[in-house]
């Protein structure tokens, strides 16, 4: 039974909705609820949060009945490496400049895939970065330093 739930698609969807909805309702308690005539800032979010909880309960019930599995393969590597390289891009844009940020992002993203050939990826990163510099910095005049001097 436990195993069945661990993989149950709709139960998890329901749980996520309930957590989000409940959090919304709890946080929205700090905002004035108001009345139907003068709705406070808390009115709409509280109603929506309640709705989400209801939807979540329904989905859990449906999941327990239908036992639909989560399909397909997970690329855990992709799930971690892709967002991480995006975060690195954000950090490097502030501290190192456009060129290093973009190079790291492209190489990092490529490393999320299953086939990674360093030479090929470096070539791709150089080409794409050159293209992006030409298009965005020189072509469209975006005001980012190519390299930030320390």
């Amino acid at each position: 039974m436990q195993l069945a739930i661990r993989n149950n698609r709709d139960v998890w969807a329901g749980v996520m909705l309930i957590v989000t909805g409940a959090a919304a309702v709890i946080i929205a308690r700090d905002y004035a609820f108001g009345s139907a005539l003068r709705m406070g800032p808390g009115y709409f979010p509280s109603v929506l949060g309640g709705l989400l909880v209801l939807f979540g309960l329904y989905l859990i019930a449906q999941g327990l009945r239908s036992n639909e599995r989560i399909e397909g393969n997970w690329s855990l590597r992709g799930l971690i490496v892709l967002p991480l390289s995006l975060v690195l891009f954000g950090v490097l844009m502030e501290y190192a400049g456009f060129v290093p940020a973009l190079m790291v992002l492209i190489v990092g993203s490529a490393a999320a895939g299953s086939e990674f050939k360093l030479k090929e990826v470096l070539l791709l990163a150089t080409g794409l970065t050159a293209f992006a510099v030409a298009l965005f910095i020189y072509g469209l005049g975006l005001p980012y330093p190519l390299f930030t001097s320390w």
Binding site: W12, M16, F44, L48, I70, E71, R77, L86, V87
Partner: protein, 498 residues
């Protein structure tokens, strides 16, 4: 006569060399991403939005629209040659299109798909020109209750008609509405759900959500399922369909165009639904339905006309009411807002060059697609051989630059990464994030209209059913729910009983 004058004015705008160039870029990029599986118009438009900052609003809209309908053309090329839908709308085209290609009739299949799309596009464009102005005039009379009911109908229709589980789609709409609330409440100045983060006081950026969920989330999902592509290696010989092909296609193209236009105006129905409906109709009325699935040209002509008509008609609610009927239209609205134009029925009067210029350019764009694409099929086939491992780092790079350049903010990059993870999880749990994006766009507007309507009526909720136009929308909403949910419940009961 007004219509003609307006159209001539529109062509005057669209035929300036800059706008022709933007149209050309738009449809070329659109075809390109249409041909390539794994990247759709939504992610592309989101990535390219920042490029449009420096372009005049008309040019920006013309280019973005070109990407959208260009993708519908490109999607069929991949479907016919590779048996892989380049866009979701081309799923149906695979069935008979690929069979035609295997019988050495790839040329006629591609040609009829392009011709069908062109006819449908022309009709859709005319429909916008004819129906747009009266609709906008009607919309000018709308008050807060009408807008709220209309949005409610749109969101419910979007959730109900989208593929997949209805309850999940409705839940995703509600989740989107909630996300849209994050930020400063316009009426009271209260910070809602901003968790003390200053960057969140302006709300979550639209592009952040769109790129995060649709570009990043999709890539993560794709990496888990490596695709197999076997490009059709046979020569594409003889492009021209025979006279018999034409005669067989006239009916399906006409019916597909009408079906697509109908579905196009409905919110939430992607082009996939229109083309699927068209395929079912053609199969049903065919003298010999067994030909379908074995290379029947009707199975290509009808659905391709339907999906292009749908794509064009999706512009009607966007241009006349300022309401997005699909997530791509939500992005177009975003583009207008960034340009400082408040979308709505007033646009047609205050910025006629925008409305009529866009309409004229759509017809020109459709023409370009037919003339340019057929000779360039060889090039598109070569492009299909670009492996995904080169493609997705490029998508990442453009996405990142696109998001960053909106507010020059690293925080929004981090948020995009977060939405990428969230989007991936929802995709895996069988919840399509598209309804969420619609809810996200409409959330703040809906709350605002709800509050205003209640103030108007002194807290009496009957205001939504005592005003005739609003009542009409409410009845339509209930009807949609009843018609769709009842059979679903019945069949589920049947399942349990069986």
């Amino acid at each position: 006569m007004d219509l003609f004058q307006n159209l001539i004015f529109g062509f005057g705008v669209a035929l300036s060399w800059q706008n022709l160039l933007y149209c050309m870029i738009g449809v070329s990029v659109g075809t390109l991403i249409g041909v390539l599986p794994g990247i759709g118009p939504l992610a592309t438009i989101a990535m390219l939005l920042p490029i449009t900052f420096n372009v005049a609003p008309v040019g920006a809209l013309i280019m973005l629209a070109g990407i959208y309908y260009g993708a519908q053309y490109g999607g069929s090329t991949t479907a016919i040659l590779v048996n892989l839908p380049g866009e979701t709308s081309a799923v149906v085209t695979c069935i008979d299109g690929y069979q035609m290609a295997r019988q050495g009739r790839a040329g006629p299949a591609l040609a009829i798909a392009a011709i069908g799309s062109f006819i449908a596009g022309t009709f859709g464009t005319m429909l916008i020109a004819v129906a747009g102005p009266p609709l906008a005039e009607l919309a000018l009379k709308f008050g807060a209750p009408e807008y709220f009911s209309l949005m409610l109908m749109g969101l419910v229709a979007a959730a109900v008609l989208a593929q997949g589980d209805i309850m999940k789609s409705l839940a995703m709409v509600a989740l989107g509405l909630l996300l849209g609330i994050v930020g400063t409440d316009v009426n009271t100045g209260v910070q809602r759900f901003s968790l003390g983060i200053t960057e969140l006081s302006d709300g979550i950026g639209f592009i952040v959500v769109a790129v995060g969920v649709f570009a990043i989330g999709e890539i993560v999902a794709n990496l888990g399922n490596p695709e197999e592509r076997s490009v059709f290696t046979g020569k594409v010989k003889g492009l021209m369909p025979t006279w018999a092909d034409f005669k067989q296609s006239v009916g399906p193209i006409t019916r597909g165009t009408l079906l697509g236009s109908f579905f196009g105006v409905l919110p939430g129905t992607g082009p996939a639904i229109a083309s699927f409906a068209s395929y079912m109709v053609e199969k049903k009325i065919a003298k010999d339905p067994s030909r379908f699935g074995k290379g029947a040209i009707e199975g290509v002509a009808g659905p391709e006309a339907a999906n292009n008509a749908d794509a064009q008609c999706k512009f009607i609610p966007m241009l006349t009411l300022g309401l997005p009927a699909s997530s791509v239209m939500a992005l177009m609205l975003g583009a207008l807002t960034i340009q400082g134009i408040q979308p709505g029925p007033e646009v047609m009067v205050t910025r006629p060059e925008l409305f009529w210029g866009l309409i004229a350019s759509m017809w020109i764009g459709n023409l370009m697609l037919v003339v340019l694409n057929l000779p360039m099929i060889g090039l598109w086939v070569k492009l299909l051989k670009v492996p995904y491992r080169f493609l997705f780092p490029a998508i990442m790079a453009f996405s990142a630059i696109g998001v960053y350049s909106v507010n020059n903010s690293s925080f929004e990059i981090y948020l995009t990464a977060l939405f990428g993870v969230i989007g991936f999880i929802w995709i895996k749990l069988g919840c399509s994030p598209a309804p969420m994006l619609l809810g996200f766009v409409l959330g703040p507007m809906m709350e605002e209209h709800l509050r205003r309507a209640m103030l108007m009526s002194k807290g009496d909720p009957s205001v939504f059913v005592t005003r005739p136009i609003s009542l009409g929308f409410i009845i339509a909403t209930v009807l949609i729910l009843v018609v769709i949910i009842l059979p679903a419940v019945r069949s589920r009961r049947g399942e349990i009983a069986g």
